[in-house]
């Protein structure tokens, strides 16, 4: 993952954008919501432990989610902290949070180039109405793409173990439009748009999952 993409994803997690040129602002109400810490590292346990220590000192009132994912290929290890919807420039700050983040970066040897690292995320749970939906695409249990729902139709392809699957994303959600396997069950699943919903292609070992960090979404979907 390129540094630019990483920063953009970090911002997506919080539903916020604060640096011109890195990503386009979306719903302005989202600019005041969202607190998250995202780290790309090769030491997931240490990152999780350091992240916990960091949040214990922040005294965050809301619930916190933790997730980590495998990434494939070469990525720049770094960390992004977004507080209340604003990217926190810890490298040029002397606030107490900045010192803690610098300590995390030092202990994890960031920034560094990594091959097949982990993406570690701590996300404060907001309220549903102010939370954006993002789509995470996994190939063989590794995160290969993370994008937010878009107003315009966007098609893209993802490589799975059996070949290339094509997806289409819009503001309504994501749907599979082609699959290399014989069964093609994912094509019949229509559009996944509800947080927690997913399109799963078992033979091609691909899945697209709708994420949201609002507190009002169901915790799971029975189908």
């Amino acid at each position: 993952m390129k540094r630019r993409d990483f920063l953009r994803n970090g911002l997506l997690i919080a539903g916020a954008v604060s640096i011109p040129g890195l990503a386009k602002p979306f719903l302005s109400k989202n600019l005041v919501t969202g607190t998250s810490l995202t780290i790309i590292t090769d030491d997931v346990d240490k990152a999780a432990s350091l992240g916990q220590t960091f949040f214990s000192k922040l005294n965050i009132k809301s619930r916190l989610k933790y997730e980590d994912y495998d990434l494939i290929g070469d990525h720049i290890g770094d960390l992004v902290f977004v507080k209340n919807g604003v990217l926190f420039d810890f490298k040029n700050s002397d606030k107490s949070e900045a010192l803690l983040l610098k300590e995390i970066a030092t202990k994890l040897h960031l920034p560094t180039n990594f091959r097949n690292p982990k993406l570690v995320k701590f996300i404060a749970v907001g309220d549903a109405e102010n939370s954006d939906k993002t789509i995470k695409i996994f190939s063989n249990n590794s995160l290969v793409k993370e994008i937010k729902l878009k107003k315009e139709l966007v098609s893209f392809s993802v490589e799975g173990v059996k070949g290339t699957s094509e997806f289409q994303i819009s503001q309504n959600g994501i749907k599979a439009i082609s699959a290399p396997c014989g069964h093609k069950t994912c094509l019949k699943l229509g559009t996944a748009s509800i947080v927690g919903d997913s399109l799963v292609c078992i033979p091609n070992k691909l899945r697209a999952v709708v994420y949201g960090n609002g507190g009002g979404f169901p915790d799971a979907i029975s189908f």
Partner: protein
């Protein structure tokens, strides 16, 4: 080896309780396993120890699949199937027990739930590698129907063996396998001190404890015809919910839908319901009951407990609730 494993286990458990932070985390892990997407959400004060325990829970799911999946040639179920009509096969007590319970479900449902439905499910091909697109020949269905019958699955408790009496018979635990797997994964977490968590195995959902203080887990129920909608949601703690529907694995011929839930008496997809959601004490029971009620569109004959509740969407899209489904589990309609 056992000693080393015990130490790792002990350290994980001790560290789970040794955190002094008051902050709790919802740890989310998802994996493609056993032919479906398994998601886990665990409430814990210590992310790393929680993940270590969860690793063993996922391993437990894989272990169960290796015992029970007919698609895996080395599984015990595959061995029973390959010796159908020849000889009994000695199996583990665990596999024996799940088969024994399967027969109980069969008796309770007057044969509607039948794990010897393998010949029919394989004929229809919904679990195969290729997309089924045609209705099987009627004679082939009749031939397979003759090979279905749970009373010809003979279990011997003396040597924990199983025997399918006629060649060509086969067991398919698709009706309870996922549910059983997350029941056992839940046991792994509980044995190690984790009490608040959720598992979702391809729509079979098991919840334990609470999401937050005095806050139940919320589970949405998918609308069977509007893929971007939920019918509603229920609030659960220490319960499981499973849904059987005709809308995920199916094909259409001349506008008629043929799906993967096969009636063991007719050999054709059951047509009374489009979706059935069941809340039960265990994911295995919810799984078995959802399949049964889907086929019968009713609970006739089922010797259930008072805690088992249903939401049936009939083939004319009428919603049928058992009395407590709405009130006890705070069903919230999204329409």
């Amino acid at each position: 080896m056992l000693f080393r494993f015990s130490i790792v286990w002990f350290v994980a458990v001790v560290s789970c309780f040794s955190q002094d932070s008051s902050q709790t985390y919802e740890v989310y892990v998802s994996k493609n396993l056993i032919g479906t997407l398994i998601e886990a959400k665990i409430i814990s004060k210590d992310v790393n120890s929680c993940k270590k325990i969860l690793y063993h829970a996922f391993k437990e799911i894989e272990r169960i699949d290796s015992l029970l999946a007919w698609q895996i040639p080395t599984s015990e179920i595959s061995k029973i199937n390959s010796y159908a009509g020849k000889s009994p096969v000695k199996i583990s007590y665990e596999t024996y027990s799940i088969l024994e319970r399967s027969l109980t479900y069969s008796d309770s449902s007057n044969g509607i739930f039948d794990v010897t439905i393998g010949p029919l499910t394989q004929l229809w091909g919904f679990n195969g590698d290729e997309e089924p697109a045609t209705v099987p020949d009627g004679r082939a269905i009749d031939s397979c129907l003759k090979l279905v019958g749970y009373k010809d699955l003979i279990l011997n408790s003396n040597d924990t063996s199983a025997f399918l009496k006629r060649a060509g018979m086969s067991i398919d635990l698709g009706g309870i396998g996922k549910g059983y797997a997350i029941d056992r994964a839940s046991d792994v977490l509980k044995r190690n001190g984790l009490t608040s968590f959720l598992f979702n195995a391809g729509g079979d959902v098991l919840v334990s404890g609470y999401k937050a203080e005095d806050q139940n887990w919320t589970v949405g129920i998918k609308d069977p015809r509007k893929e971007d909608k939920l019918l509603g949601s229920v609030e659960l703690t220490d319960k499981s919910i499973a849904t059987s529907g005709d809308y995920e694995r199916y094909f259409e011929v001349n506008g008629k839908r043929f799906h993967h839930i096969i009636d063991p008496f007719t050999g054709y997809p059951a047509s009374n319901s489009v979706s059935v959601s069941v809340i039960a004490e265990s994911a295995e029971r919810a799984d078995a009951l959802a399949t049964t009620v889907f086929i019968t569109q009713g609970i006739t004959g089922w010797q259930g407990t008072s805690d088992e509740e249903f939401l049936i969407i009939s083939n004319d899209f009428t919603k049928i609730f058992t009395p407590a489904f709405k009130k006890k589990y705070r069903f919230k309609s999204f329409k």
